[in-house]
């Protein structure tokens, strides 16, 4: 499944030292039908891309705090400005951590409740199908994508959580058991405008049959993650 007429869309994927899932995110963009554009942490130029993915990994070793050093990379300064101007930005795992560290999204991530790294196929409920990255889902739809992280417990103060809930900015919630102690089972959130989305699970690892999570159609058949990327293309076409 790819969005026709989207081949002209260029989606940037930023590589920081210690980024791990950059090539995977590039593949996901390609599978969705767009052109991936590698971006470098040290380069403030976003190359005129139509959207940006901040991929997972351990940027700068996650030393100090996950995403805390990456937030100061030259590319992030440009990205924060562009995001405030409406550029679609998806932060996955470490990318989500960077978005909270750079205050594009509220809250923060701490170590998983049981302190260990967790790798599993995770069911999520799409709570908001109106963002730039979720418009191809139906609200309330349950999807399965891999979860894999060490610092995945989403925390924020009660007022922020209430605000997120009230404004419909809780985009994904964990279903079938909270894996990491995240407040109110929150797996992903968005900014008020809906162009910036961050989540801990990895949609880019559920885009190709045979290499995703186990799905109804069989072994590793899950491709629910692909619609994150086609959603972005759809929203780009809509605004073009």
């Amino acid at each position: 499944m790819s969005v026709s007429g989207a081949a002209g869309a260029r989606i940037g994927v930023v590589t920081f030292p210690g980024t791990l899932d950059d090539r995977d995110a590039q593949r996901a963009v390609r599978v969705a039908g767009a052109t991936p554009v590698p971006l470098w942490h040290g380069d403030a130029d976003l190359g005129g891309v139509d959207a940006v993915v901040l991929p997972g990994g351990f940027s700068y070793g996650d030393y100090l705090r996950a995403g805390a050093i990456a937030r100061f990379a030259p590319v992030m300064t440009s990205l924060v400005d562009a995001a405030k101007g409406g550029l679609p930005v998806l932060g996955i795992c470490n990318g989500f951590q960077m978005l909270t560290e750079s205050h594009l999204l509220p809250g923060s991530m701490i170590k998983n409740e049981r302190l260990t790294f967790i790798c599993r196929d995770q069911v999520l409920r799409v709570e908001n199908a109106g963002t730039a990255w979720t418009n191809e889902f139906a609200a309330g739809e349950e999807i399965t994508i891999p979860l894999k992280n060490q610092d995945g417990q989403y925390v924020a103060d009660e007022r922020t959580l209430d605000e997120l809930e009230g404004e419909g900015r809780v985009v994904f919630r964990y279903v079938g058991g909270n894996p990491n102690g995240s407040r109110r089972d929150i797996a992903g959130i968005s900014n008020a405008r809906g162009n910036v989305v961050g989540l801990m699970p990895h949609p880019e690892h559920a885009v190709e049959a045979g290499f995703g999570p186990d799905g109804a159609a069989g072994l590793r058949s899950g491709t629910d993650g692909l619609r994150f990327f086609t959603s972005a293309l759809t929203s780009l076409l809509a605004t073009a």
């Binding site: 791990l20 995977d24 700068y60 996650d62 260990t116 790294f117 790798c119 894999k148 045979g210």
Partner: protein, 776 residues
């Protein structure tokens, strides 16, 4: 701190211990014994040099001549792997034994390099860092070949699950493997976990890495081209791991003097990840003539091996090495095992471009020397010549021992004490069989390892087609065609204790079978030989038998050993006793190739209505089995009969059946026998089955308990889609291979075996509860 340092600092003249000074102070006593060198070895060094070594030279020789680096006790016997590799077996070998890792041609211009290595002793001393740097070391070996690392596997063996010290080691080791591997972006696609009291003081932490490269990208560790620069890049050199290589691997550290407990290296996976990407960019741009990773023996090893493999001469100015701790002495710098370092040979014309790439990745780099044609490795430290040696005498012409070995005095009694002789009772009533099956399913070595494997990233890189708990890990290599590889590793220390020759062969046969169950054609072998002290004739006999058995079996199966590792001195008991050392544990990894990984066969049943067929013959073979261990706490007798021709036939059937879509699932039978395999296949996707073993019991003349618990080899269960039963039978009969239909999958969430009902929920709780309960 190291004794070499002390010597240098305390030199009578107050100046560094120079080559010139060594010639004029021939009688100066050097502390070679505490560096692990024997009297005869020190005498050899003096003969080679024609004078006493300097402190720095002593540091180099002591680490490079250690068991860990020189293979001095095993070298004589390891030659069998090369000698027994026929021309036909070399067909797919691009690089064989002797380099950092072997390289295998998998077609389409693609090559794969893989190796398994041990980091046992450090992992007992400091489990987290020991395991983490074990992963780091094997990954650097793979990078050194010019390959992108694409997956890792870990083979872990711990003491008794309920021993008070085991949790310490388990938490540290699993945390270290995960913490390092996950941070590198390498999917962990499988491995082994075993608990046995024999590993209490000697846990085994083996790690395998597989890398992918194009044929033209192969890089080797050699320093050629006079005038080329020797460049050290990556992490700075610090005081960690000094002497680790020589002392940890030289003698048991239990009961040793305190100085025999050197610091374990500390890893920084972030640095390693950056180093991987930096090296790949350097390779891609063609900026590297030769490359070597820094592992055991650090700069001593890298300089002497590069020089020895190349034009034979190199000069190094040691003060150019970037240090974490400026107080390090020359000897310490040479011995330091600081992690995440690489050494490259670069032409002067490309040096600037090389430095630009390392600068891009913020990797600190120093030009420390130059290749020459002197035939000598010379090292200066602030203008003082502290090393002047023939590099071959350091790297490749170390001592070789023909250690005495003999069949242990206790071996015959052990072999005579089989299950029958010991009078171990098999369960007779169906209730007893059911109860014992559940006990086995929950036993530490058959229980689900998901508590461990769920802490490892199996998705990163997006090419994982199969991972644990399937029989082998499967990784896509070529995204356009689906070409990929399957890898499985196995070892059975209990079988190897009963008979090390066939025990090693069992490990090979099982890994070979596991690769074939996925539909992959087995192609090549790597091994990690974990044994006791080579100075104990009993352990040495086990080692020689295992090597011989493995080499012989590789020849029969037509799969060459491409590289590996030997870990000795895994023992803390009195020599000569049955419990002196660990069960001999030859870990064998087999790599196979799949034309399209999307076609890989999983181990579990997928849906109702599939016919379940057992391939192979079941005999009453319970000696050394998990059943004997768990139900009776017994180890004795002889391992199951091994029929390599049958293994070969079974693999061919499994590969062809997969290719022709005759099987939906395939799972090998090994530890725990048929009972465990049925449970595994059912739990994989939560699909039950109705099993009727009547035809099997009649054909093979065994009772129900034997049929379920025997560990006869060359067997597998397959799930066959409706309508393909005849085609599969034809495939088997063409090879004279026995098969029997034993049941079909059902919709009711129950595994029913000859009327015994086992709910999948009950089985899952038994299987997943064990590790979580002990370590949760």
């Amino acid at each position: 701190m190291s004794t070499a340092a002390t010597t240098s600092e305390n030199h009578p003249s107050g100046t560094p211990d120079t080559v010139e000074g060594a010639a004029t102070t021939p009688d100066l006593e050097l502390p070679y014994r505490s560096l692990g060198l024997k009297d005869n070895e020190y005498a050899d060094i003096v003969t080679i040099l024609g004078r006493r070594p300097t402190a720095a030279e002593l540091a180099m020789y002591s680490v490079m001549w250690s068991e860990h680096c020189s293979y001095k006790s095993s070298k004589k016997h390891l030659r069998q792997f090369g000698d027994k590799t026929t021309e036909a077996m070399r067909e797919h070998l691009l690089v064989g034994i002797g380099e950092n890792a072997g390289v295998v041609d998998i077609g389409g211009g693609w090559a794969v390099t893989f190796k398994v290595e041990s980091h046992n002793h450090p992992s007992y001393v400091e489990p987290y860092q020991g395991a983490a740097t074990g992963v780091g070391g094997i990954v650097r070996d793979i990078i050194s070949m010019g390959a992108r690392p694409v997956a890792i596997m870990d083979q872990l063996r711990f003491g008794a699950i309920d021993h008070p010290d085991t949790a310490r080691v388990v938490h540290g080791v699993v945390g270290g493997v995960g913490g390092y591997g996950n941070s590198l972006g390498l999917p962990n696609i499988g491995g082994e976990t075993e608990f046995d009291p024999c590993y209490q003081g000697n846990p085994l932490v083996n790690a395998l890495c597989v890398g992918v490269l194009r044929h033209e990208d192969i890089h080797l560790a050699s320093a050629t081209g006079v005038g080329n620069k020797v460049v050290l890049f990556g992490a700075r050199t610090g005081g960690d791991g000094i002497g680790g290589a020589s002392i940890l691997a030289s003698e048991t550290f239990e009961g040793g003097v305190p100085t025999k407990r050197p610091s374990v290296q500390v890893g920084d996976p972030f640095m390693e990840k950056v180093l991987i990407e930096c090296c790949l960019e350097l390779f891609h741009a063609g900026l590297v003539e030769g490359i070597q990773d820094l592992g055991a023996a650090g700069i001593s090893c890298a300089t002497s091996e590069l020089a020895s493999n190349g034009d034979g001469g190199m000069h190094v100015d040691l003060e150019s090495v970037l240090l974490r701790d400026p107080s390090l002495t020359a000897g310490e710098i040479l011995m330091s095992e600081s992690q995440e370092r690489m050494m490259a040979v670069v032409t002067p014309a490309k040096l600037e471009a090389f430095l630009a790439v390392t600068a891009k990745w913020d990797v600190e780099t120093a030009v420390i020397g130059e290749v020459n044609d002197s035939g000598r490795l010379t090292i200066d430290h602030f203008g003082h010549r502290i090393v002047d040696v023939d590099p071959r005498t350091v790297a490749h012409e170390g001592p070789v021992y023909d250690r005495p070995f003999a069949r242990p005095a206790w071996q015959d009694a052990l072999n005579a004490d089989g299950v029958t002789a010991a009078g171990l009772a098999l369960p007779t009533s169906p209730e007893e069989v059911r109860e014992q099956l559940l006990t086995l399913v929950a036993s530490p070595n058959l229980a689900s390892a998901s508590w461990i494997t769920d802490q490892y990233d199996r998705y990163v890189q997006g090419n994982t087609a199969l991972a644990m708990p399937d029989d082998a890990g499967v990784i896509r290599v070529d995204e356009s065609t689906g070409l990929g590889v399957a890898i499985a590793t196995d070892a059975n220390g209990r079988f190897a204790k009963l008979d090390p020759y066939t025990g090693a062969q069992h490990a090979l046969a099982e890994a070979y079978r596991n690769v074939a169950t996925t539909g992959a054609r087995p192609l090549a072998v790597t091994d990690c030989l974990n044994f006791g002290s080579p100075e104990d004739p009993d352990s040495m006999w086990q080692l020689v038998e295992a090597i011989t058995g493995l080499a012989d079996a590789c020849q029969v199966l037509g799969v060459p050993v491409t590289g590996g590792n030997v870990s000795l001195y895994n023992g803390t008991g009195e020599p000569g006793r049955i419990d002196s050392s660990i069960n001999p544990t030859p870990v064998v990894g087999v790599l196979g190739v799949l034309d399209d990984v999307a076609h890989a066969t999983p181990s579990g049943w997928r849906g109702a209505g599939e016919t379940i067929v057992l391939l192979g013959t079941t005999r009453a073979e319970l000696d050394g089995s998990v059943w004997a261990d768990v139900v009776h706490g017994h180890l004795g007798g002889l391992p199951p009969q091994l029929d390599l021709a049958a293994e070969k036939a079974l693999a061919a059937i499994l590969v062809n059946a997969s290719r022709d879509d005759l099987v939906l699932a395939a799972h090998d039978l090994s530890k725990g026998g048929l009972g465990q395999s049925l449970v595994d296949a059912a739990l994989r996707f939560g699909v039950g089955a109705r099993i009727d073993l009547t035809a099997l019991l009649t054909r093979d003349g065994v009772d129900l308990a034997t049929a379920l618990f025997s560990e006869s080899t060359a067997r597998a269960i397959v799930a066959v889609p409706r309508g393909s039963e005849v085609a599969l039978a034809d495939l088997c009969s063409a090879r004279g291979f026995p098969l029997v239909r034993i049941g079909e999958t059902t919709e009711d969430g129950v595994l029913e075996i000859d009327g015994l009902e086992l709910g999948l929920d009950e089985l899952r709780a038994a299987s997943t509860g064990t590790l979580a309960r002990h370590f949760g």
